[in-house]
């Protein structure tokens, strides 16, 4: 299980989904998409295999996802059909508070 680095970009092994790590806990995290471990976005491997039916909620571009403890936060930079999970627990979608537009 790898440690996650802030700013790192990872892609799903089983769908088109891609994420960027916004915040990560210090220890090791098993981050999966569609039930399979995510891989470095710059690696040449392309998506293959099946999305696990329990990990198929999909991710939407621009949405942020967090774990229960809010120690892990990722940003979806490419939409995909797989769902994200950390150490087996599905991640939750984080809401951006609606703010008055000032710039």
């Amino acid at each position: 299980m790898p440690t996650l680095k802030t700013g790192a970009r990872l892609k799903s092994a089983v769908c088109d989904g891609e994420i960027m790590v916004v915040a990560a806990p210090s220890g090791d995290v098993d981050l999966t998409c569609g039930g399979e471990p995510m891989i470095d976005a710059s690696s040449g491997e392309s998506a293959g295999g099946d999305i696990h039916p329990d990990h198929a909620v999909g991710i939407a571009m621009g949405k942020r996802y967090i774990n229960e403890a809010e120690t892990l936060e990722v940003l979806c930079v490419k939409a995909g059909d797989g769902g994200l999970a950390a150490d087996g627990a599905l991640l939750l979608q984080k809401d951006t508070k609606k703010l008055p537009k000032t710039d």
């Binding site: 802030t6 700013g7 970009r9 621009g62 940003l75 951006t96 703010l99 008055p100 537009k101 000032t102």
Partner: protein, 501 residues
């Protein structure tokens, strides 16, 4: 993390939308055009020996292109204040070489043939190289890389170069903007200078939300009004002096209603807003939501906002304390903490004046060559004075270090005092800012003449005008027999200010 990622997402979600329009020329760039040009320019930057990408020009389509191409190539973007003299600019360029400088045609000759400086014409940057290859999508995702170097106006001596890393700017955007939240019809009119943090924030926020930006390179109230109507602008941001002129301009035509119902949101910031101006503006723009934003270069723009609801609540209230909130800068953004501390660094009680401290992911507080001024707990001392009320509304009370903020421009009293002290008749001098309805603050000087000298106010004004930019010329000069000092020899500016009234 990299600001390019924001553009990449916009480009894949809505490639054909118009991203930027130069209001002066009518030229446009779609997200896909901006993305593709940024890749081509990044390839050239990467092939050069430049460590910085410097832009010296008014707002144009080249502004967002330069910001993103620099991020893609992996070197800091350095927008310079084009109102500085060539000599001042040269000193800044010396600090960022080796660099590529992109500037307007009329300025190119001033910077040719300098070692370590490659000079490009702004218009070429935009037009040439349709056939060139783009860089691979391999921008650096290291969040610690520097995205932007911004020279602050500088309170003492040489300007400081604030370092904004990709992590600061991206955190600010992710925390305050919902991706693709703008409707295709929304348009934002941007008239803040491109070398100001608000100009950088406007580009990034608009790109991430998918909002069309209309640029107004040289502000005038007439042109602002024309562009708001022409492009059916929905969002705009102005500094208080601009809003004052817009209000005056509308009133000169006898208007009681600005008749811009499409303008959903008007934000202001960058200085103290006179109460009569905001009250008049709210009645001229009855359909518009007003927001007041406060932020600094070192905090990647906005850290607190007085929102539309806050404005309406304050205006509707009969309670003097709640009405007063109309001149506050609102409450901290989510993810941002604000504290007021006294001179000993202790947090003070509500409604007590002290120095404003801020903490959050978007806070840089770091200067090139000077290190970080953020403490071990992450707090950044803003050097702005202020107070918080019981509900967390922040009130600004001037600069902690007496900088004069005239029409959004920071003027150093020391710099003007130094010039006046070179006059043969001057024995002592104090320069301070005094309240001014037009500019927020204006420059005033108190001069102690040497015995036997007789010099007029006008003579001193022209003496300063010959040596400094016109904004530095004291609008009011008084002659005293001595200045007030404390026991350690420190000038008591507060006393000078009170006595000048």
């Amino acid at each position: 993390m990299n600001v390019m990622m924001l553009l990449e997402m916009a480009n894949s979600a809505f490639p054909d939308r118009i991203a930027f329009t130069n209001g002066a020329t009518g030229e446009t760039l779609s997200y896909s055009q901006l993305f593709s040009k940024a890749g081509k320019r990044a390839r050239e930057i990467r092939a050069s020996d430049s460590n910085r990408f410097v832009k010296l020009d008014v707002s144009s389509l080249v502004t967002p292109l330069s910001l993103f191409a620099s991020g893609w190539a992996g070197i800091p973007y350095v927008p310079l204040n084009y109102r500085l003299t060539d000599e001042e600019i040269m000193r800044l360029i010396e600090r960022v070489k080796p660099a590529t400088l992109v500037t307007s045609e009329d300025r190119i000759n001033s910077f040719q043939n300098l070692e370590g400086l490659e000079v490009l014409d702004s218009s070429d940057l935009l037009s040439h190289g349709g056939e060139d290859e783009s860089l691979e999508n391999d921008w650096d995702m290291d969040p610690e890389e520097i995205a932007v170097l911004l020279f602050t106006s500088g309170t003492t001596g040489e300007p400081k170069a604030a370092m904004l890393r990709h992590k600061h700017l991206v955190s600010y955007i992710l925390g305050s903007v919902e991706f693709a939240s703008a409707d295709e019809k929304e348009a934002s009119l941007v008239c803040v200078p491109p070398y100001h943090i608000a100009g950088i924030a406007a580009i990034l926020s608009s790109v991430y939300s998918g909002r069309h930006v209309v640029q107004l390179p040289n502000f005038s109230a007439e042109e602002w009004i024309r562009l708001v109507r022409k492009h059916q602008v929905t969002n705009a941001m102005v500094v208080p002096t601009m809003l004052k002129r817009i209000v005056e301009c509308l009133e000169e035509t006898g208007a009681t209603n600005a008749e811009m119902p499409h303008l959903a949101s008007l934000a202001y910031g960058g200085g103290k807003m006179p109460l009569p101006v905001i009250e008049k503006a709210m009645s001229l723009f009855p359909d518009t939501d007003f927001s007041n934003a406060y932020g600094l270069t070192e905090t990647s723009s906005t850290i607190s906002v007085l929102g539309p609801e806050d404005h309406r609540d304050a205006v509707a209230s009969s309670d003097e304390l709640l009405r007063r909130r109309l001149v506050s800068v609102g409450r901290a953004l989510p993810g941002v903490e604000i504290q007021i501390r006294d001179d000993e660094g202790e947090e003070v009680a509500p409604n007590t004046r002290g120095e404003i401290y801020v903490r959050g992911e978007q806070v840089s507080g770091e200067y090139e060559g000077r290190g970080s001024v953020v403490d071990s707990d992450g707090w950044f001392p803003t050097r702005d004075a202020g107070s918080l009320d019981e509900d967390g509304f922040l009130f600004l009370e001037g600069r902690a270090d007496d900088v004069i903020v005239r029409g959004g421009e920071n003027l150093s009293p020391g710099e003007i005092e130094d010039v006046l002290m070179t006059h043969e008749a001057v024995s002592d001098v104090a320069v301070i800012g005094i309240a001014d309805e037009q500019w927020g603050e204006s420059v005033a000087a108190v001069i102690v003449l040497k015995p036997g000298f007789q010099v007029s106010e006008a003579d001193f004004q022209s003496f300063v005008r010959e040596r400094m930019r016109s904004s530095r010329v004291p609008e009011k000069i008084e002659f005293w027999t001595e200045l007030p000092y404390n026991e350690t020899g420190k000038l008591l500016r507060r006393v000078v200010r009170e006595k000048l009234g």
